[in-house]
């Protein structure tokens, strides 16, 4: 069942067409990988879905509701959470308070928000450091904080913009496990990533974008063995054999 549908989406910046006539479907519960060279329009797509940009043409439909052009906070209320390419923690407050702010989305009292925050923090394994200030966090912790924060809003769909950027290979492995845990809770994930190993192992389906258009779509095996992907982007060492 499709949780998110994007139809004929177009976004222009002056003379540049960042996203051109894009169709995309995201199925409930899946982990979808969004790959492509820089400038392909992936973040622009995220921004349009999340409400930061208004599409010039096309529709965004979430859980059968048209959310095209809604403001970011309205989009969040519908159940979409997102993270940012460069993390944006609230620097002056603690991890706990950061996530509590997210938790208020599905709570009425501070206590409820705190509970929602605690759950999210447990999943992201940050519970041991809840008093650390946002400004004192390491990069991997920042990434985790941002995901926990978005999770605490009760989002059903998470848009993760390069969650692995800046992480060492072992940190990436750990992060992948955490993402699998989140997916295991039934939350749909759309991940923009450049690390092919991560994408291949985590994602059940991949969409390859280039220059604002969807080039390929399919399972990791299908996409990686398609000559177009190999020539455009993947490089031979990542093809999955068999």
């Amino acid at each position: 069942m499709a949780i998110l549908e994007v139809n004929n989406l177009v976004k222009r910046f002056g003379g540049l067409v960042a996203v051109h006539d894009l169709d995309m479907t995201v199925n409930e519960g899946e982990t979808l990988g969004l790959i492509g060279p820089n400038g392909a329009g992936k973040t622009t797509l995220f921004n349009m879905v999340a409400g930061y940009y208004r599409p010039d043409k096309g529709q965004v439909i979430f859980q059968d509701h048209d959310i095209t052009g809604l403001k970011p906070y309205e989009v969040c209320r519908r159940g979409i959470g997102r993270t940012f390419q460069t993390t944006k923690p609230f620097l002056d407050i603690s991890i706990l308070e950061n996530v509590v702010i997210g938790g208020f989305m599905q709570a009425h009292s501070t206590a409820e928000a705190r509970r929602a925050a605690q759950d999210a923090l447990d999943i992201l394994e940050l519970s041991d450091r809840v008093e650390t200030l946002g400004s004192e966090l390491t990069v991997p912790d920042r990434k985790r904080l941002e995901i926990a924060r978005a999770l605490a809003t009760g989002a059903k769909l998470l848009l993760l913009d390069e969650p692995m950027a800046g992480l060492t290979p072992s940190e990436k492995g750990h992060a992948s496990e955490l993402l699998r845990k989140i997916s295991g809770q039934g939350i749909t994930l759309v991940i923009v990533e450049h690390d092919m190993k991560v994408v291949m192992t985590l994602c059940s389906r991949i969409i390859l974008m280039d220059r604002g258009e969807k080039l390929l779509e399919g399972s990791p095996k299908e996409v990686s063995s398609d000559p177009r992907a190999i020539t455009a982007y993947l490089g031979e060492e990542y093809t999955v054999s068999g």
Binding site: Y73, P89, F90, L91, I93, I101, F104, E131
Partner: protein, 359 residues
Amino acid sequence: MKQNRGIEALGERLRTRQIPLGWVIIAVVLILLIIVPFAWKDNSYYVHIVITIFIWGYMATAWGLVGQSGQLSFGHAAFMGIGAYTTGILYSQFGVTPWLGVFVAIGLATLGGVIIGIPTLRLRGVYFALATFAFGFIILMIVKNATYIGPVYIGGGAFLTLPRAGQAPAVFQFESKTPYYFMALAMLAGIVYLSHWFNRSRMGFYWTAIRGDQDAAESLGIDAAKYRLRAFLISCALTGLGGAFFMQYFRFFSPQKVLDVSQSIQIALIGIVGGWQSVFGPMIGGFIIVPVAELLRLNLGAFPAMSPIIYGIILMLFILFMPNGVNEPFMRGLNWLERKYWRPSQNANNENNEKVGRQ
């Protein structure tokens, strides 16, 4: 019997130091402040100074609410003026008691906030400050030039004075300073508590988020414009209330002086010296700046220009070296005191972060 037990329990908690140091200090200070007007009964000058501290601490705290949501208002004196003029005129020209007039004052100040706040919702930092500045300037111009607005005599820039009514509590005028003192103290305590309460409420968290990173806040479902506007309107309303009290206490209002940009700068100065985005900061700023201002006035009275020069220098020094005011070091000092002498146990840290913590 029950009461005794309650007090016993309190004493018990005090002795075992379960109550954070911050609250104890506040309680002690409050008690001292309550004693002041009686201890200094013969020295109304000192009482006057403390009342002035309360008033400006109140104003700065009200102004600071806008700061908590991340914006800086550079024309707040306008709302003070609206409050003062409304109650003043309603009383002196229409005989309406300030007890009622104050509600009109709050209403008009809020209306002013709506007029300037809504169009400027999307403006970022500096441009918002400039817009509020322009608004303040326009209000000053209007007051300076309008002799009559409808049937109401504005006075065209002349001083607004309140006719003396002697001891007349019904119209909020008293012979002695004491009632004013307690009213001002109540207002200051009230607004600081309110600020503290907001800070720990959902809206306060949202203000912190908006202040920290607006895009991130919006991704978490926060309507930044709505909450910023709320902070601004609450601030305007409370500032208007303060203006009404100002009028009642000083019974004298000089638009040239009070609605001028230097007045807005002064409020900002108090807020910044104390810590403009914190709960207790602006009040602390009041306790610092007002006595300093008074000392200056006494020693340098022959050079009236000296005061603004000193204010300017203080402002510059703080912006350059301590832009977050004394609040942070003050709170850290408090935390340190607490850890070392009051409750050197692990519990202290967590609870303290909760209550006094970063604000």
